[in-house]
Amino acid sequence: MNKVIIKTENLCKYYNKGQHNEVRAIDKVNIDINRGEFISIIGPSGSGKSTLLHMIGLLDRPTCGKIYFDGKDISNLSDNQITKIRREKVGFVFQQFNLIPLLTALENVELPMTINGHKEIDTKKKAEELLKKVGLGHRLNNRPPQLSGGEKQRVAIARALANDPEIILADEPTGNLDTKTGKEIINLLRRMDKKGFTLAIITHDQRIAKVAEKVINIKDGRIIKEGG
C-alpha cells in the first residue's frame, strides 16, 4: 500500500487540440492525494474541476501527462482493466444523483456489486446494510422519483460505497440540495471518511472547503493554490 493513492504528473486534458477552438480544460496539473485524506477542490465554474475529478477517478483518459493509481501508471492499461480498477476502488457521487430511475433504492445500491460479479457476496443484504447506514432503512423499495433530493443523494452515497472503494469522488454533491440537507450529506460523507476512505469533494461552498484537510484551488485548468 502506497501512502499516495493518486498522483498526477503534468496531467492535462485538451479538447479540440490544435484547432482554433482548443480548450485546455486541465493544463499540466501535479497533485498528490494521500490515503485517508479529505480534499476539497474549488474554483469558478468551467475551471476544469469536473474534468480533473473524472481523470483521477479513471472515468476519463488524459490527453497528456500521467496518473499513478496506488503507485501504478495507468496510461498503458486497457479500457477493461481501467474499468475494473474504477469499479473496485473508486466511488462516484454526482450533483445530479444519477440513480437509475427504473430500479429501487435497494437495487440501485446492489447494481455495482452485481456488475462486479462476486458471487459470494449477498448483494441484497449488503445493500440493505449500506442503506441503513446512510439512514434510509425505511426507503429500501422506493424508486428514485419517490425520493427527496437528500434521500437520492444518500442512496447515491450508499451505491458509491457498495464495492468497498478506497476513494470517494464527489462532484458538487450538495449543488442540488438546500443548505441544511447539504450539510447533512457532507457530514455523512465525512463520517465515511473517518473510516479510512479517501474523500475528494468538488464544492463552491467555502464552509466545506474550510473543514477539508487540503484545498485545491483551480482556475483555467491550472492549480493556483494548494493548501490546508
Binding site: 474499468t83 455495482p112 464495492n163
Partner: protein
C-alpha cells in the same frame, strides 16, 4: 441483467408493443405460408410411402408426370404392348381428367374434381392398395351407373352411399365412399368404370398405365425397359415423381417463405430503430452504468438482450398467430391446401426472430457500448 432488461423493454410500452407487432406480422406470415409448404411436403411423403414401387407410363412428355398425365393419349395397342412387357406383376390402364364440381352452393373455393376411369376389378391397384372404404362397397364389373367418391367430395357435397352425383351431365349412384387418404387425387376424386369414362369424355385412348413390378428393387430397370422398347412413352417411377414434386414444393416454399421473410426483416429493422431510440434516450443512464463499473461488453450484452427479448416476444406471438392463420387458410381453401406447423417450422421461425433481434440490436448495442461515460453523463 435479464430482469433489468425486461424492465427496460417494458418501459416504453407503446413503442415496444409496436415493435413487437412488426416482428409478429413477419413471423406470422412465415409460419402461415411455411405451414402450407410443410403440409404439402408431409402429404407427399405420406403418399409416396403408400405408392412406393409403382411405374406410371404416359404418352411421351418432357413436362413430368403431373402435366404429362392430363394431356396423355395412349392408344389401345400401346397399352397392350406396355402391359405385356417382362417384369410386370400387375398393370391397369387409367383414364384421367380434371374437372370442377358443378355445385353453386360451394361458391368460392369450389374444389377441383379428379375424375378417374378405372377397371372395376383393378380399383385396388389404382388406389395403390392403401385406401380404406368408409362406407359402401367397391365397384364391380357391370356397375355402369355407379361411382366411388373420396372423403373431401363426400364432406363438401354432403354425399353418402345411395346419393346421386353428376359428372359431365351424367348421373351416378354412389356405391362407396373412401376414408381420408391424404392425396387430393383420391380425396377429391371420383372413380367410375373405365369404359364409361371413355364414353363420357369422348375418347378411345387412355391417360396412363399403372404398373406394379414383379421385383420391387427393379422399378428403375423396368421403367427404363419400357421407355427403350416402346416408342412414344414416358415411364415415371415414384422416386422420379417424388423428386419432381419435391422440386416444385421447394420452389413454392422458397418463394412464399422468402416473401414472408422480407416482412420479418422489416420487423427486424423496427427492432433496430427502437433500440437506437432507446439507447439515445438512455445515454445518461449508460454513462452512469459505466461510471459505476460496467464494461463495454456489459453494456453491449444488455442492449442485445433487450432487442432479443423484443424479437422473441414478437416471434412467439407471431408463431401463435401464424398457427391460427395456417388453420384459417386450410379452412378457406376447403382443405385443399392443408397447412401443418411442424416443430421444425416453429423452431426455425423462432430462431429467425431471435436472429433478427440480435442482428437488429448489434448496431445500437455497439454504439451504446462505445459511449464515452463522461460525454454520456452530460446529457439531461
Amino acid at each position: 441483467m435479464l430482469d433489468m432488461a425486461l424492465r427496460n423493454v417494458f418501459r416504453q410500452k407503446a413503442r415496444t408493443a409496436l415493435t413487437v407487432l412488426g416482428v409478429m406480422i413477419g413471423i406470422a406470415a412465415v409460419v402461415a405460408l411455411g405451414s402450407l409448404s410443410e403440409g404439402l411436403r408431409v402429404q407427399i411423403t405420406k403418399n409416396l410411402e403408400q405408392a412406393s414401387g409403382i411405374v406410371t407410363v404416359t404418352e411421351k412428355s418432357d413436362q413430368g408426370l403431373f402435366v404429362g398425365m392430363t394431356s396423355s393419349e395412349l392408344s389401345q395397342e400401346t397399352v397392350d404392348e406396355i402391359m405385356s412387357i417382362d417384369g410386370v406383376r400387375d398393370a391397369t390402364p387409367v383414364v384421367y381428367e380434371v374437372g370442377y364440381l358443378d355445385d353453386e352452393s360451394l361458391g368460392f373455393g369450389q374444389p377441383t374434381l379428379f375424375e378417374s376411369g378405372v377397371n372395376p376389378e383393378d380399383i385396388e391397384l389404382f388406389t395403390t392398395e392403401g385406401a380404406i372404404l368408409d362406407e359402401g362397397e367397391v365397384l364391380e364389373e357391370g356397375d355402369t351407373d355407379y361411382a366411388m367418391i373420396g372423403y373431401t367430395i363426400s364432406e363438401d357435397l354432403d354425399l353418402e352411399v345411395g346419393d346421386i352425383v353428376t359428372v359431365e351431365e351424367r348421373d351416378f349412384i354412389i356405391k362407396g365412399v373412401y376414408e381420408e387418404f391424404g392425396d387430393p387425387g383420391l380425396d377429391s376424386g371420383i372413380i367410375i368404370p373405365i369404359e364409361i369414362a371413355q364414353e363420357l369424355f369422348e375418347r378411345d385412348t387412355y391417360s396412363a398405365v399403372i404398373i406394379y413390378p414383379e421385383d420391387l428393387d427393379e422399378v428403375e430397370t423396368l421403367a427404363n425397359d419400357i421407355e427403350d422398347s416402346i416408342d412414344g412413352v414416358s415411364a415415371f417411377t415414384t422416386a422420379e415423381f417424388a423428386k419432381q414434386i419435391q422440386g416444385i414444393v421447394d420452389q413454392i416454399g422458397f418463394f412464399t417463405i422468402g416473401i414472408a421473410a422480407i416482412s420479418a426483416i422489416v420487423g427486424g429493422l423496427g427492432v433496430m430503430n427502437t433500440m437506437i431510440m432507446s439507447v439515445m434516450e438512455r445515454r445518461r443512464e449508460i454513462g452512469v452504468l459505466k461510471a459505476i463499473g460496467a464494461t463495454n461488453s456489459y453494456v453491449l450484452r444488455m442492449i442485445l438482450i433487450e432487442s432479443a427479448i423484443i424479437s422473441l416476444i414478437g416471434g412467439l406471438i407471431g408463431l401463435g398467430i401464424g398457427y391460427l392463420g395456417s388453420n384459417a387458410l386450410s379452412f378457406l381453401t376447403g382443405g385443399q391446401a392443408e397447412g401443418i406447423v411442424t416443430i421444425r417450422l416453429a423452431v426455425y421461425s423462432l430462431v429467425f426472430a431471435l436472429f433478427l433481434g440480435i442482428v437488429g440490436g448489434l448496431y445500437p448495442a455497439n454504439r451504446a457500448s462505445k459511449l464515452s461515460p463522461v460525454e454520456a453523463l452530460k446529457y439531461e
